[in-house]
Symmetry: C2
Subunit: 245 residues, 2 copies
Amino acid sequence: MNQLADRGEPTKGRSRRLGKNGDGAERHEAIYRSISDAIIEHRLKPGARLREDALSEVFGVSRTGIRKILQRLALEQLVTLTPRRGASVTRPTADEAREVFDARQMIECGLMPEVAKRIGAADVQELRAMASREREALRAGEQSTAIKLSAAFHERLAELSGNATLAAFVGRLCSRSSLILAVYGNPGNLGCESHDHDDLIRYLEAGDGEGAKAFMSHHLKEIEASLSIVEEEAEAPDLHSIFGG
Amino acid sequence: MNQLADRGEPTKGRSRRLGKNGDGAERHEAIYRSISDAIIEHRLKPGARLREDALSEVFGVSRTGIRKILQRLALEQLVTLTPRRGASVTRPTADEAREVFDARQMIECGLMPEVAKRIGAADVQELRAMASREREALRAGEQSTAIKLSAAFHERLAELSGNATLAAFVGRLCSRSSLILAVYGNPGNLGCESHDHDDLIRYLEAGDGEGAKAFMSHHLKEIEASLSIVEEEAEAPDLHSIFGG
DNA sequence: GGCGCCCAATGCGTATACAATAAGGGGATC
DNA sequence: GATCCCCTTATTGTATACGCATTGGGCGCC
């Protein structure tokens, strides 16, 4: 039946010739990144609903593929999947925010000595370039880009430790941090000061693992301190706790 | 269609007549646990293939649901999804094994001081019970059960820190550790000595966070030392590296 | 006039059908 | 007799169709 539709008209004018398996995986990966980036860059704000139909139409794949991607995002806690209500961008709670920063404190700081040991000249160059691009984005007022670059910087740093497992954890924590910034951040204050990352690189370049560790700890504490982490309780006022029900 | 198969065999209570959405989620969760447990208990060994058809028949749900579960397991790195070859139980590499233990070293040890601070009498009781069951299983020669209980102990311990995010990480690391034991473990040596966990509980009960941390570090090092972490290279002899091609 | 119930529509959950690919076996040829 | 190629088969990837729950609005009743 759809052999007919196959040649003439993709019906929805949706892209072309999909159904091809070969590039299906890449396509899905690209879609995943699109959505993930949009969330991290705050172009999709916490609470935003992500309807499967709409996404499938936008990206030109069927709901099946979208669902797969949405599930992956849900497992990374970037989107929340409520049983019959569909997907929406996760709105982190205050508790989660604290947990994420405690976790970053432990893992990222713990990784610094190893990074300081392993870092090479090429790595230093790369990190400097990333920090530079980040500073540029900040100066240009492109908050979205700056946020993404900052997360990428922290993630790349973790990768330099040589432990891919922990680096993956850090990556997830950074993504979630971006979400947390969107909810609890104050406008104009991005968390990561632009010079901080450069200072950090200097410690690492000098092989000063303990210095880098201490600096990272301070850096993360500053980011966390710049937030206003208070429960907003906008949509689900807990009547039980209010009236002692 | 599948009503036919319906009468024959309740198998696990009521299997079919799904399509009911309400309990679908629970059912999927149960299936997920079944497979996950089977892997952790080494009833499914690394490298074992997990065909979608077979699983869908066994559990009485369609391939759609199985795929979802398989993807979740893949994201947790318990199964490996190769593009056109389907799913199989992950066979961790030696590098991954080292990474996992390094990660556990960092996170689990780092959590001990907080756990020692927060632990209560009821928690101590619960942990002792778990350790006791574990010892029993070991004595009865039920390796599968002992492995699962040991992982559960470490995971519960992490939960007591109050940081659910890090606890989830630890849970994933423990699951992967179980896989690592299956590949690199020596028979008869289970890794976790039976008395170790009891000793650890004593440190925590006494509020000695640093002591618990040091003990945990030693404990993990012993487990890692009991393994024979060498690449096996069974199925893909790298001819290039052998012949210098 | 307000409150509660019912109906319709939207959108997710599941199953099934179809297409494509990779692997393995058999046959033919050199 | 061995090797290479093609064909068959088994298994995944994707799309679509159908069913059900939930939600929002309209209507009737109190």
